[in-house]
Symmetry: C2
Subunit: 207 residues, 2 copies
DNA sequence: ACCATTCTGGTACACAGGTACCATAATGGT
DNA sequence: ACCATTATGGTACCTGTGTACCAGAATGGT
């Protein structure tokens, strides 16, 4: 057989082109042609590697999700070996806030897909329902362990706290994306929240 | 002059058609023709009352914002005359969660616009920056007053708390829209948050 | 009564975007 | 060396969409 190109790499190259276009001009500006141009390939190539636009969009979403998970794992891996639960949670959530340009693009495109999923149920299932649920469970587990070690007050409900964490995090993220808040301000609010979570005894006002 | 129709009402009728289409099929499904059909008018009429699609989109956004403010005011107005700060804040935030179908559509379309605004700066200014800022100030003021009366612990930072409230609220809202959480679950998390805000003394774990 | 003005309808045009089709080049197994 | 297979390019077609154009109908002041 002929010049066997690495399909996976090609697909990744094209998917990243899509992400760049969507990050710059919005997901509505994503067309077969604009993606091809951005990725530096011909329109025909995009068609070749992705049967249809729908498939391209879906693949790009999966590509995004995979990349995100890798970054997440890397970030958590580089935590100093003995770390507090708070360190873990803070790193965990900081990764889910748009800080530098790269993560801004990521979260912008991700949110765009989320909005698409709101009127296109099947698209939502895995990435936008299972994903967040998994994250919340993961957080809740960490919180439970922190309660066992006494780092976190025992009176709190780990499940509710995990939901609250992801909610406040997502809310902060969109406020940054829309330009209402700076990334620094968002991180400050996040830290404020964590202060009151973990340091509830000291932080809570003398009643 | 001829049959003088009420322009404002016509525009409202068309704008509501746009909202229905966007709420059902997504903002990307909004076309001059689909809006005309949904509103029960001819394509030409939409063109007549709105110079261009861009103007239609912008007007519909303003229409949404106005309707939202009215509902907000109405909801706050029907609070029993002597009400606690918590009642106020809870009503305030509950209105910002998708509960029934009507508010689901509203928040879905609103969020769709927000995503558009992320790559179209000028569109964002008033509705998505000034608006949220105003809401947060309003909340912060209420919290400050609640601190003065002793209903809210004095040790909290009203500005940060207000930011946290809007963030958690928005985060819960999108999780509902995307189908991850039921409206009831979202309200439960919201109440949990308020419990810990206002009842910090009792709710906070005995340290 | 009349007609200028306001409102409404239908339709055509230009363009963009997704998809399909036809060709050609490169390659590796036999 | 050959050719079937894989990869790539160019382009044409059809549909949908925003906009422009050409009318005609309805009405209220004079």
């Amino acid at each position: 057989m002929p010049k066997t190109a690495d399909h996976d790499q090609r697909r990744a190259q094209i998917a990243e082109g899509l992400v760049r276009v969507a990050g710059r001009e919005g997901l509505h500006a994503v067309t077969m042609r604009s993606v091809a141009a951005e990725a530096g390939v011909s329109l025909r190539l995009v068609q070749y590697y992705f049967e249809s636009k729908a498939q391209l969009m879906h693949s790009a979403l999966l590509h995004l999700e995979r990349a995100s998970n890798e970054r997440w794992a890397a970030r958590l891996a580089e935590l100093p070996s003995p770390h507090t639960a708070r360190d873990y949670v803070e790193a965990f959530l900081a990764e889910a806030l748009p800080s530098d340009e790269r993560s801004r693009v990521f979260h912008l495109v991700w949110t765009s897909y989320a909005v698409l999923a709101m009127t296109d149920e099947p698209l939502a299932e895995q990435p936008f329902i299972d994903g967040p649920n998994r994250l919340e469970r993961q957080l809740a587990d960490v919180l439970r362990k922190a309660q066992a070690t006494g780092e976190l007050p025992a009176g709190l409900d780990p499940d509710h706290e995990a939901a609250r964490l992801t909610a406040v995090n997502h809310g902060l993220g969109t406020s940054v994306l829309v330009g209402q808040r700076t990334p620094e301000a968002a991180q400050a609010v996040l830290r404020y929240h964590l202060d009151h979570l973990f340091g509830a005894e000291e932080a809570a006002p003398r009643a």
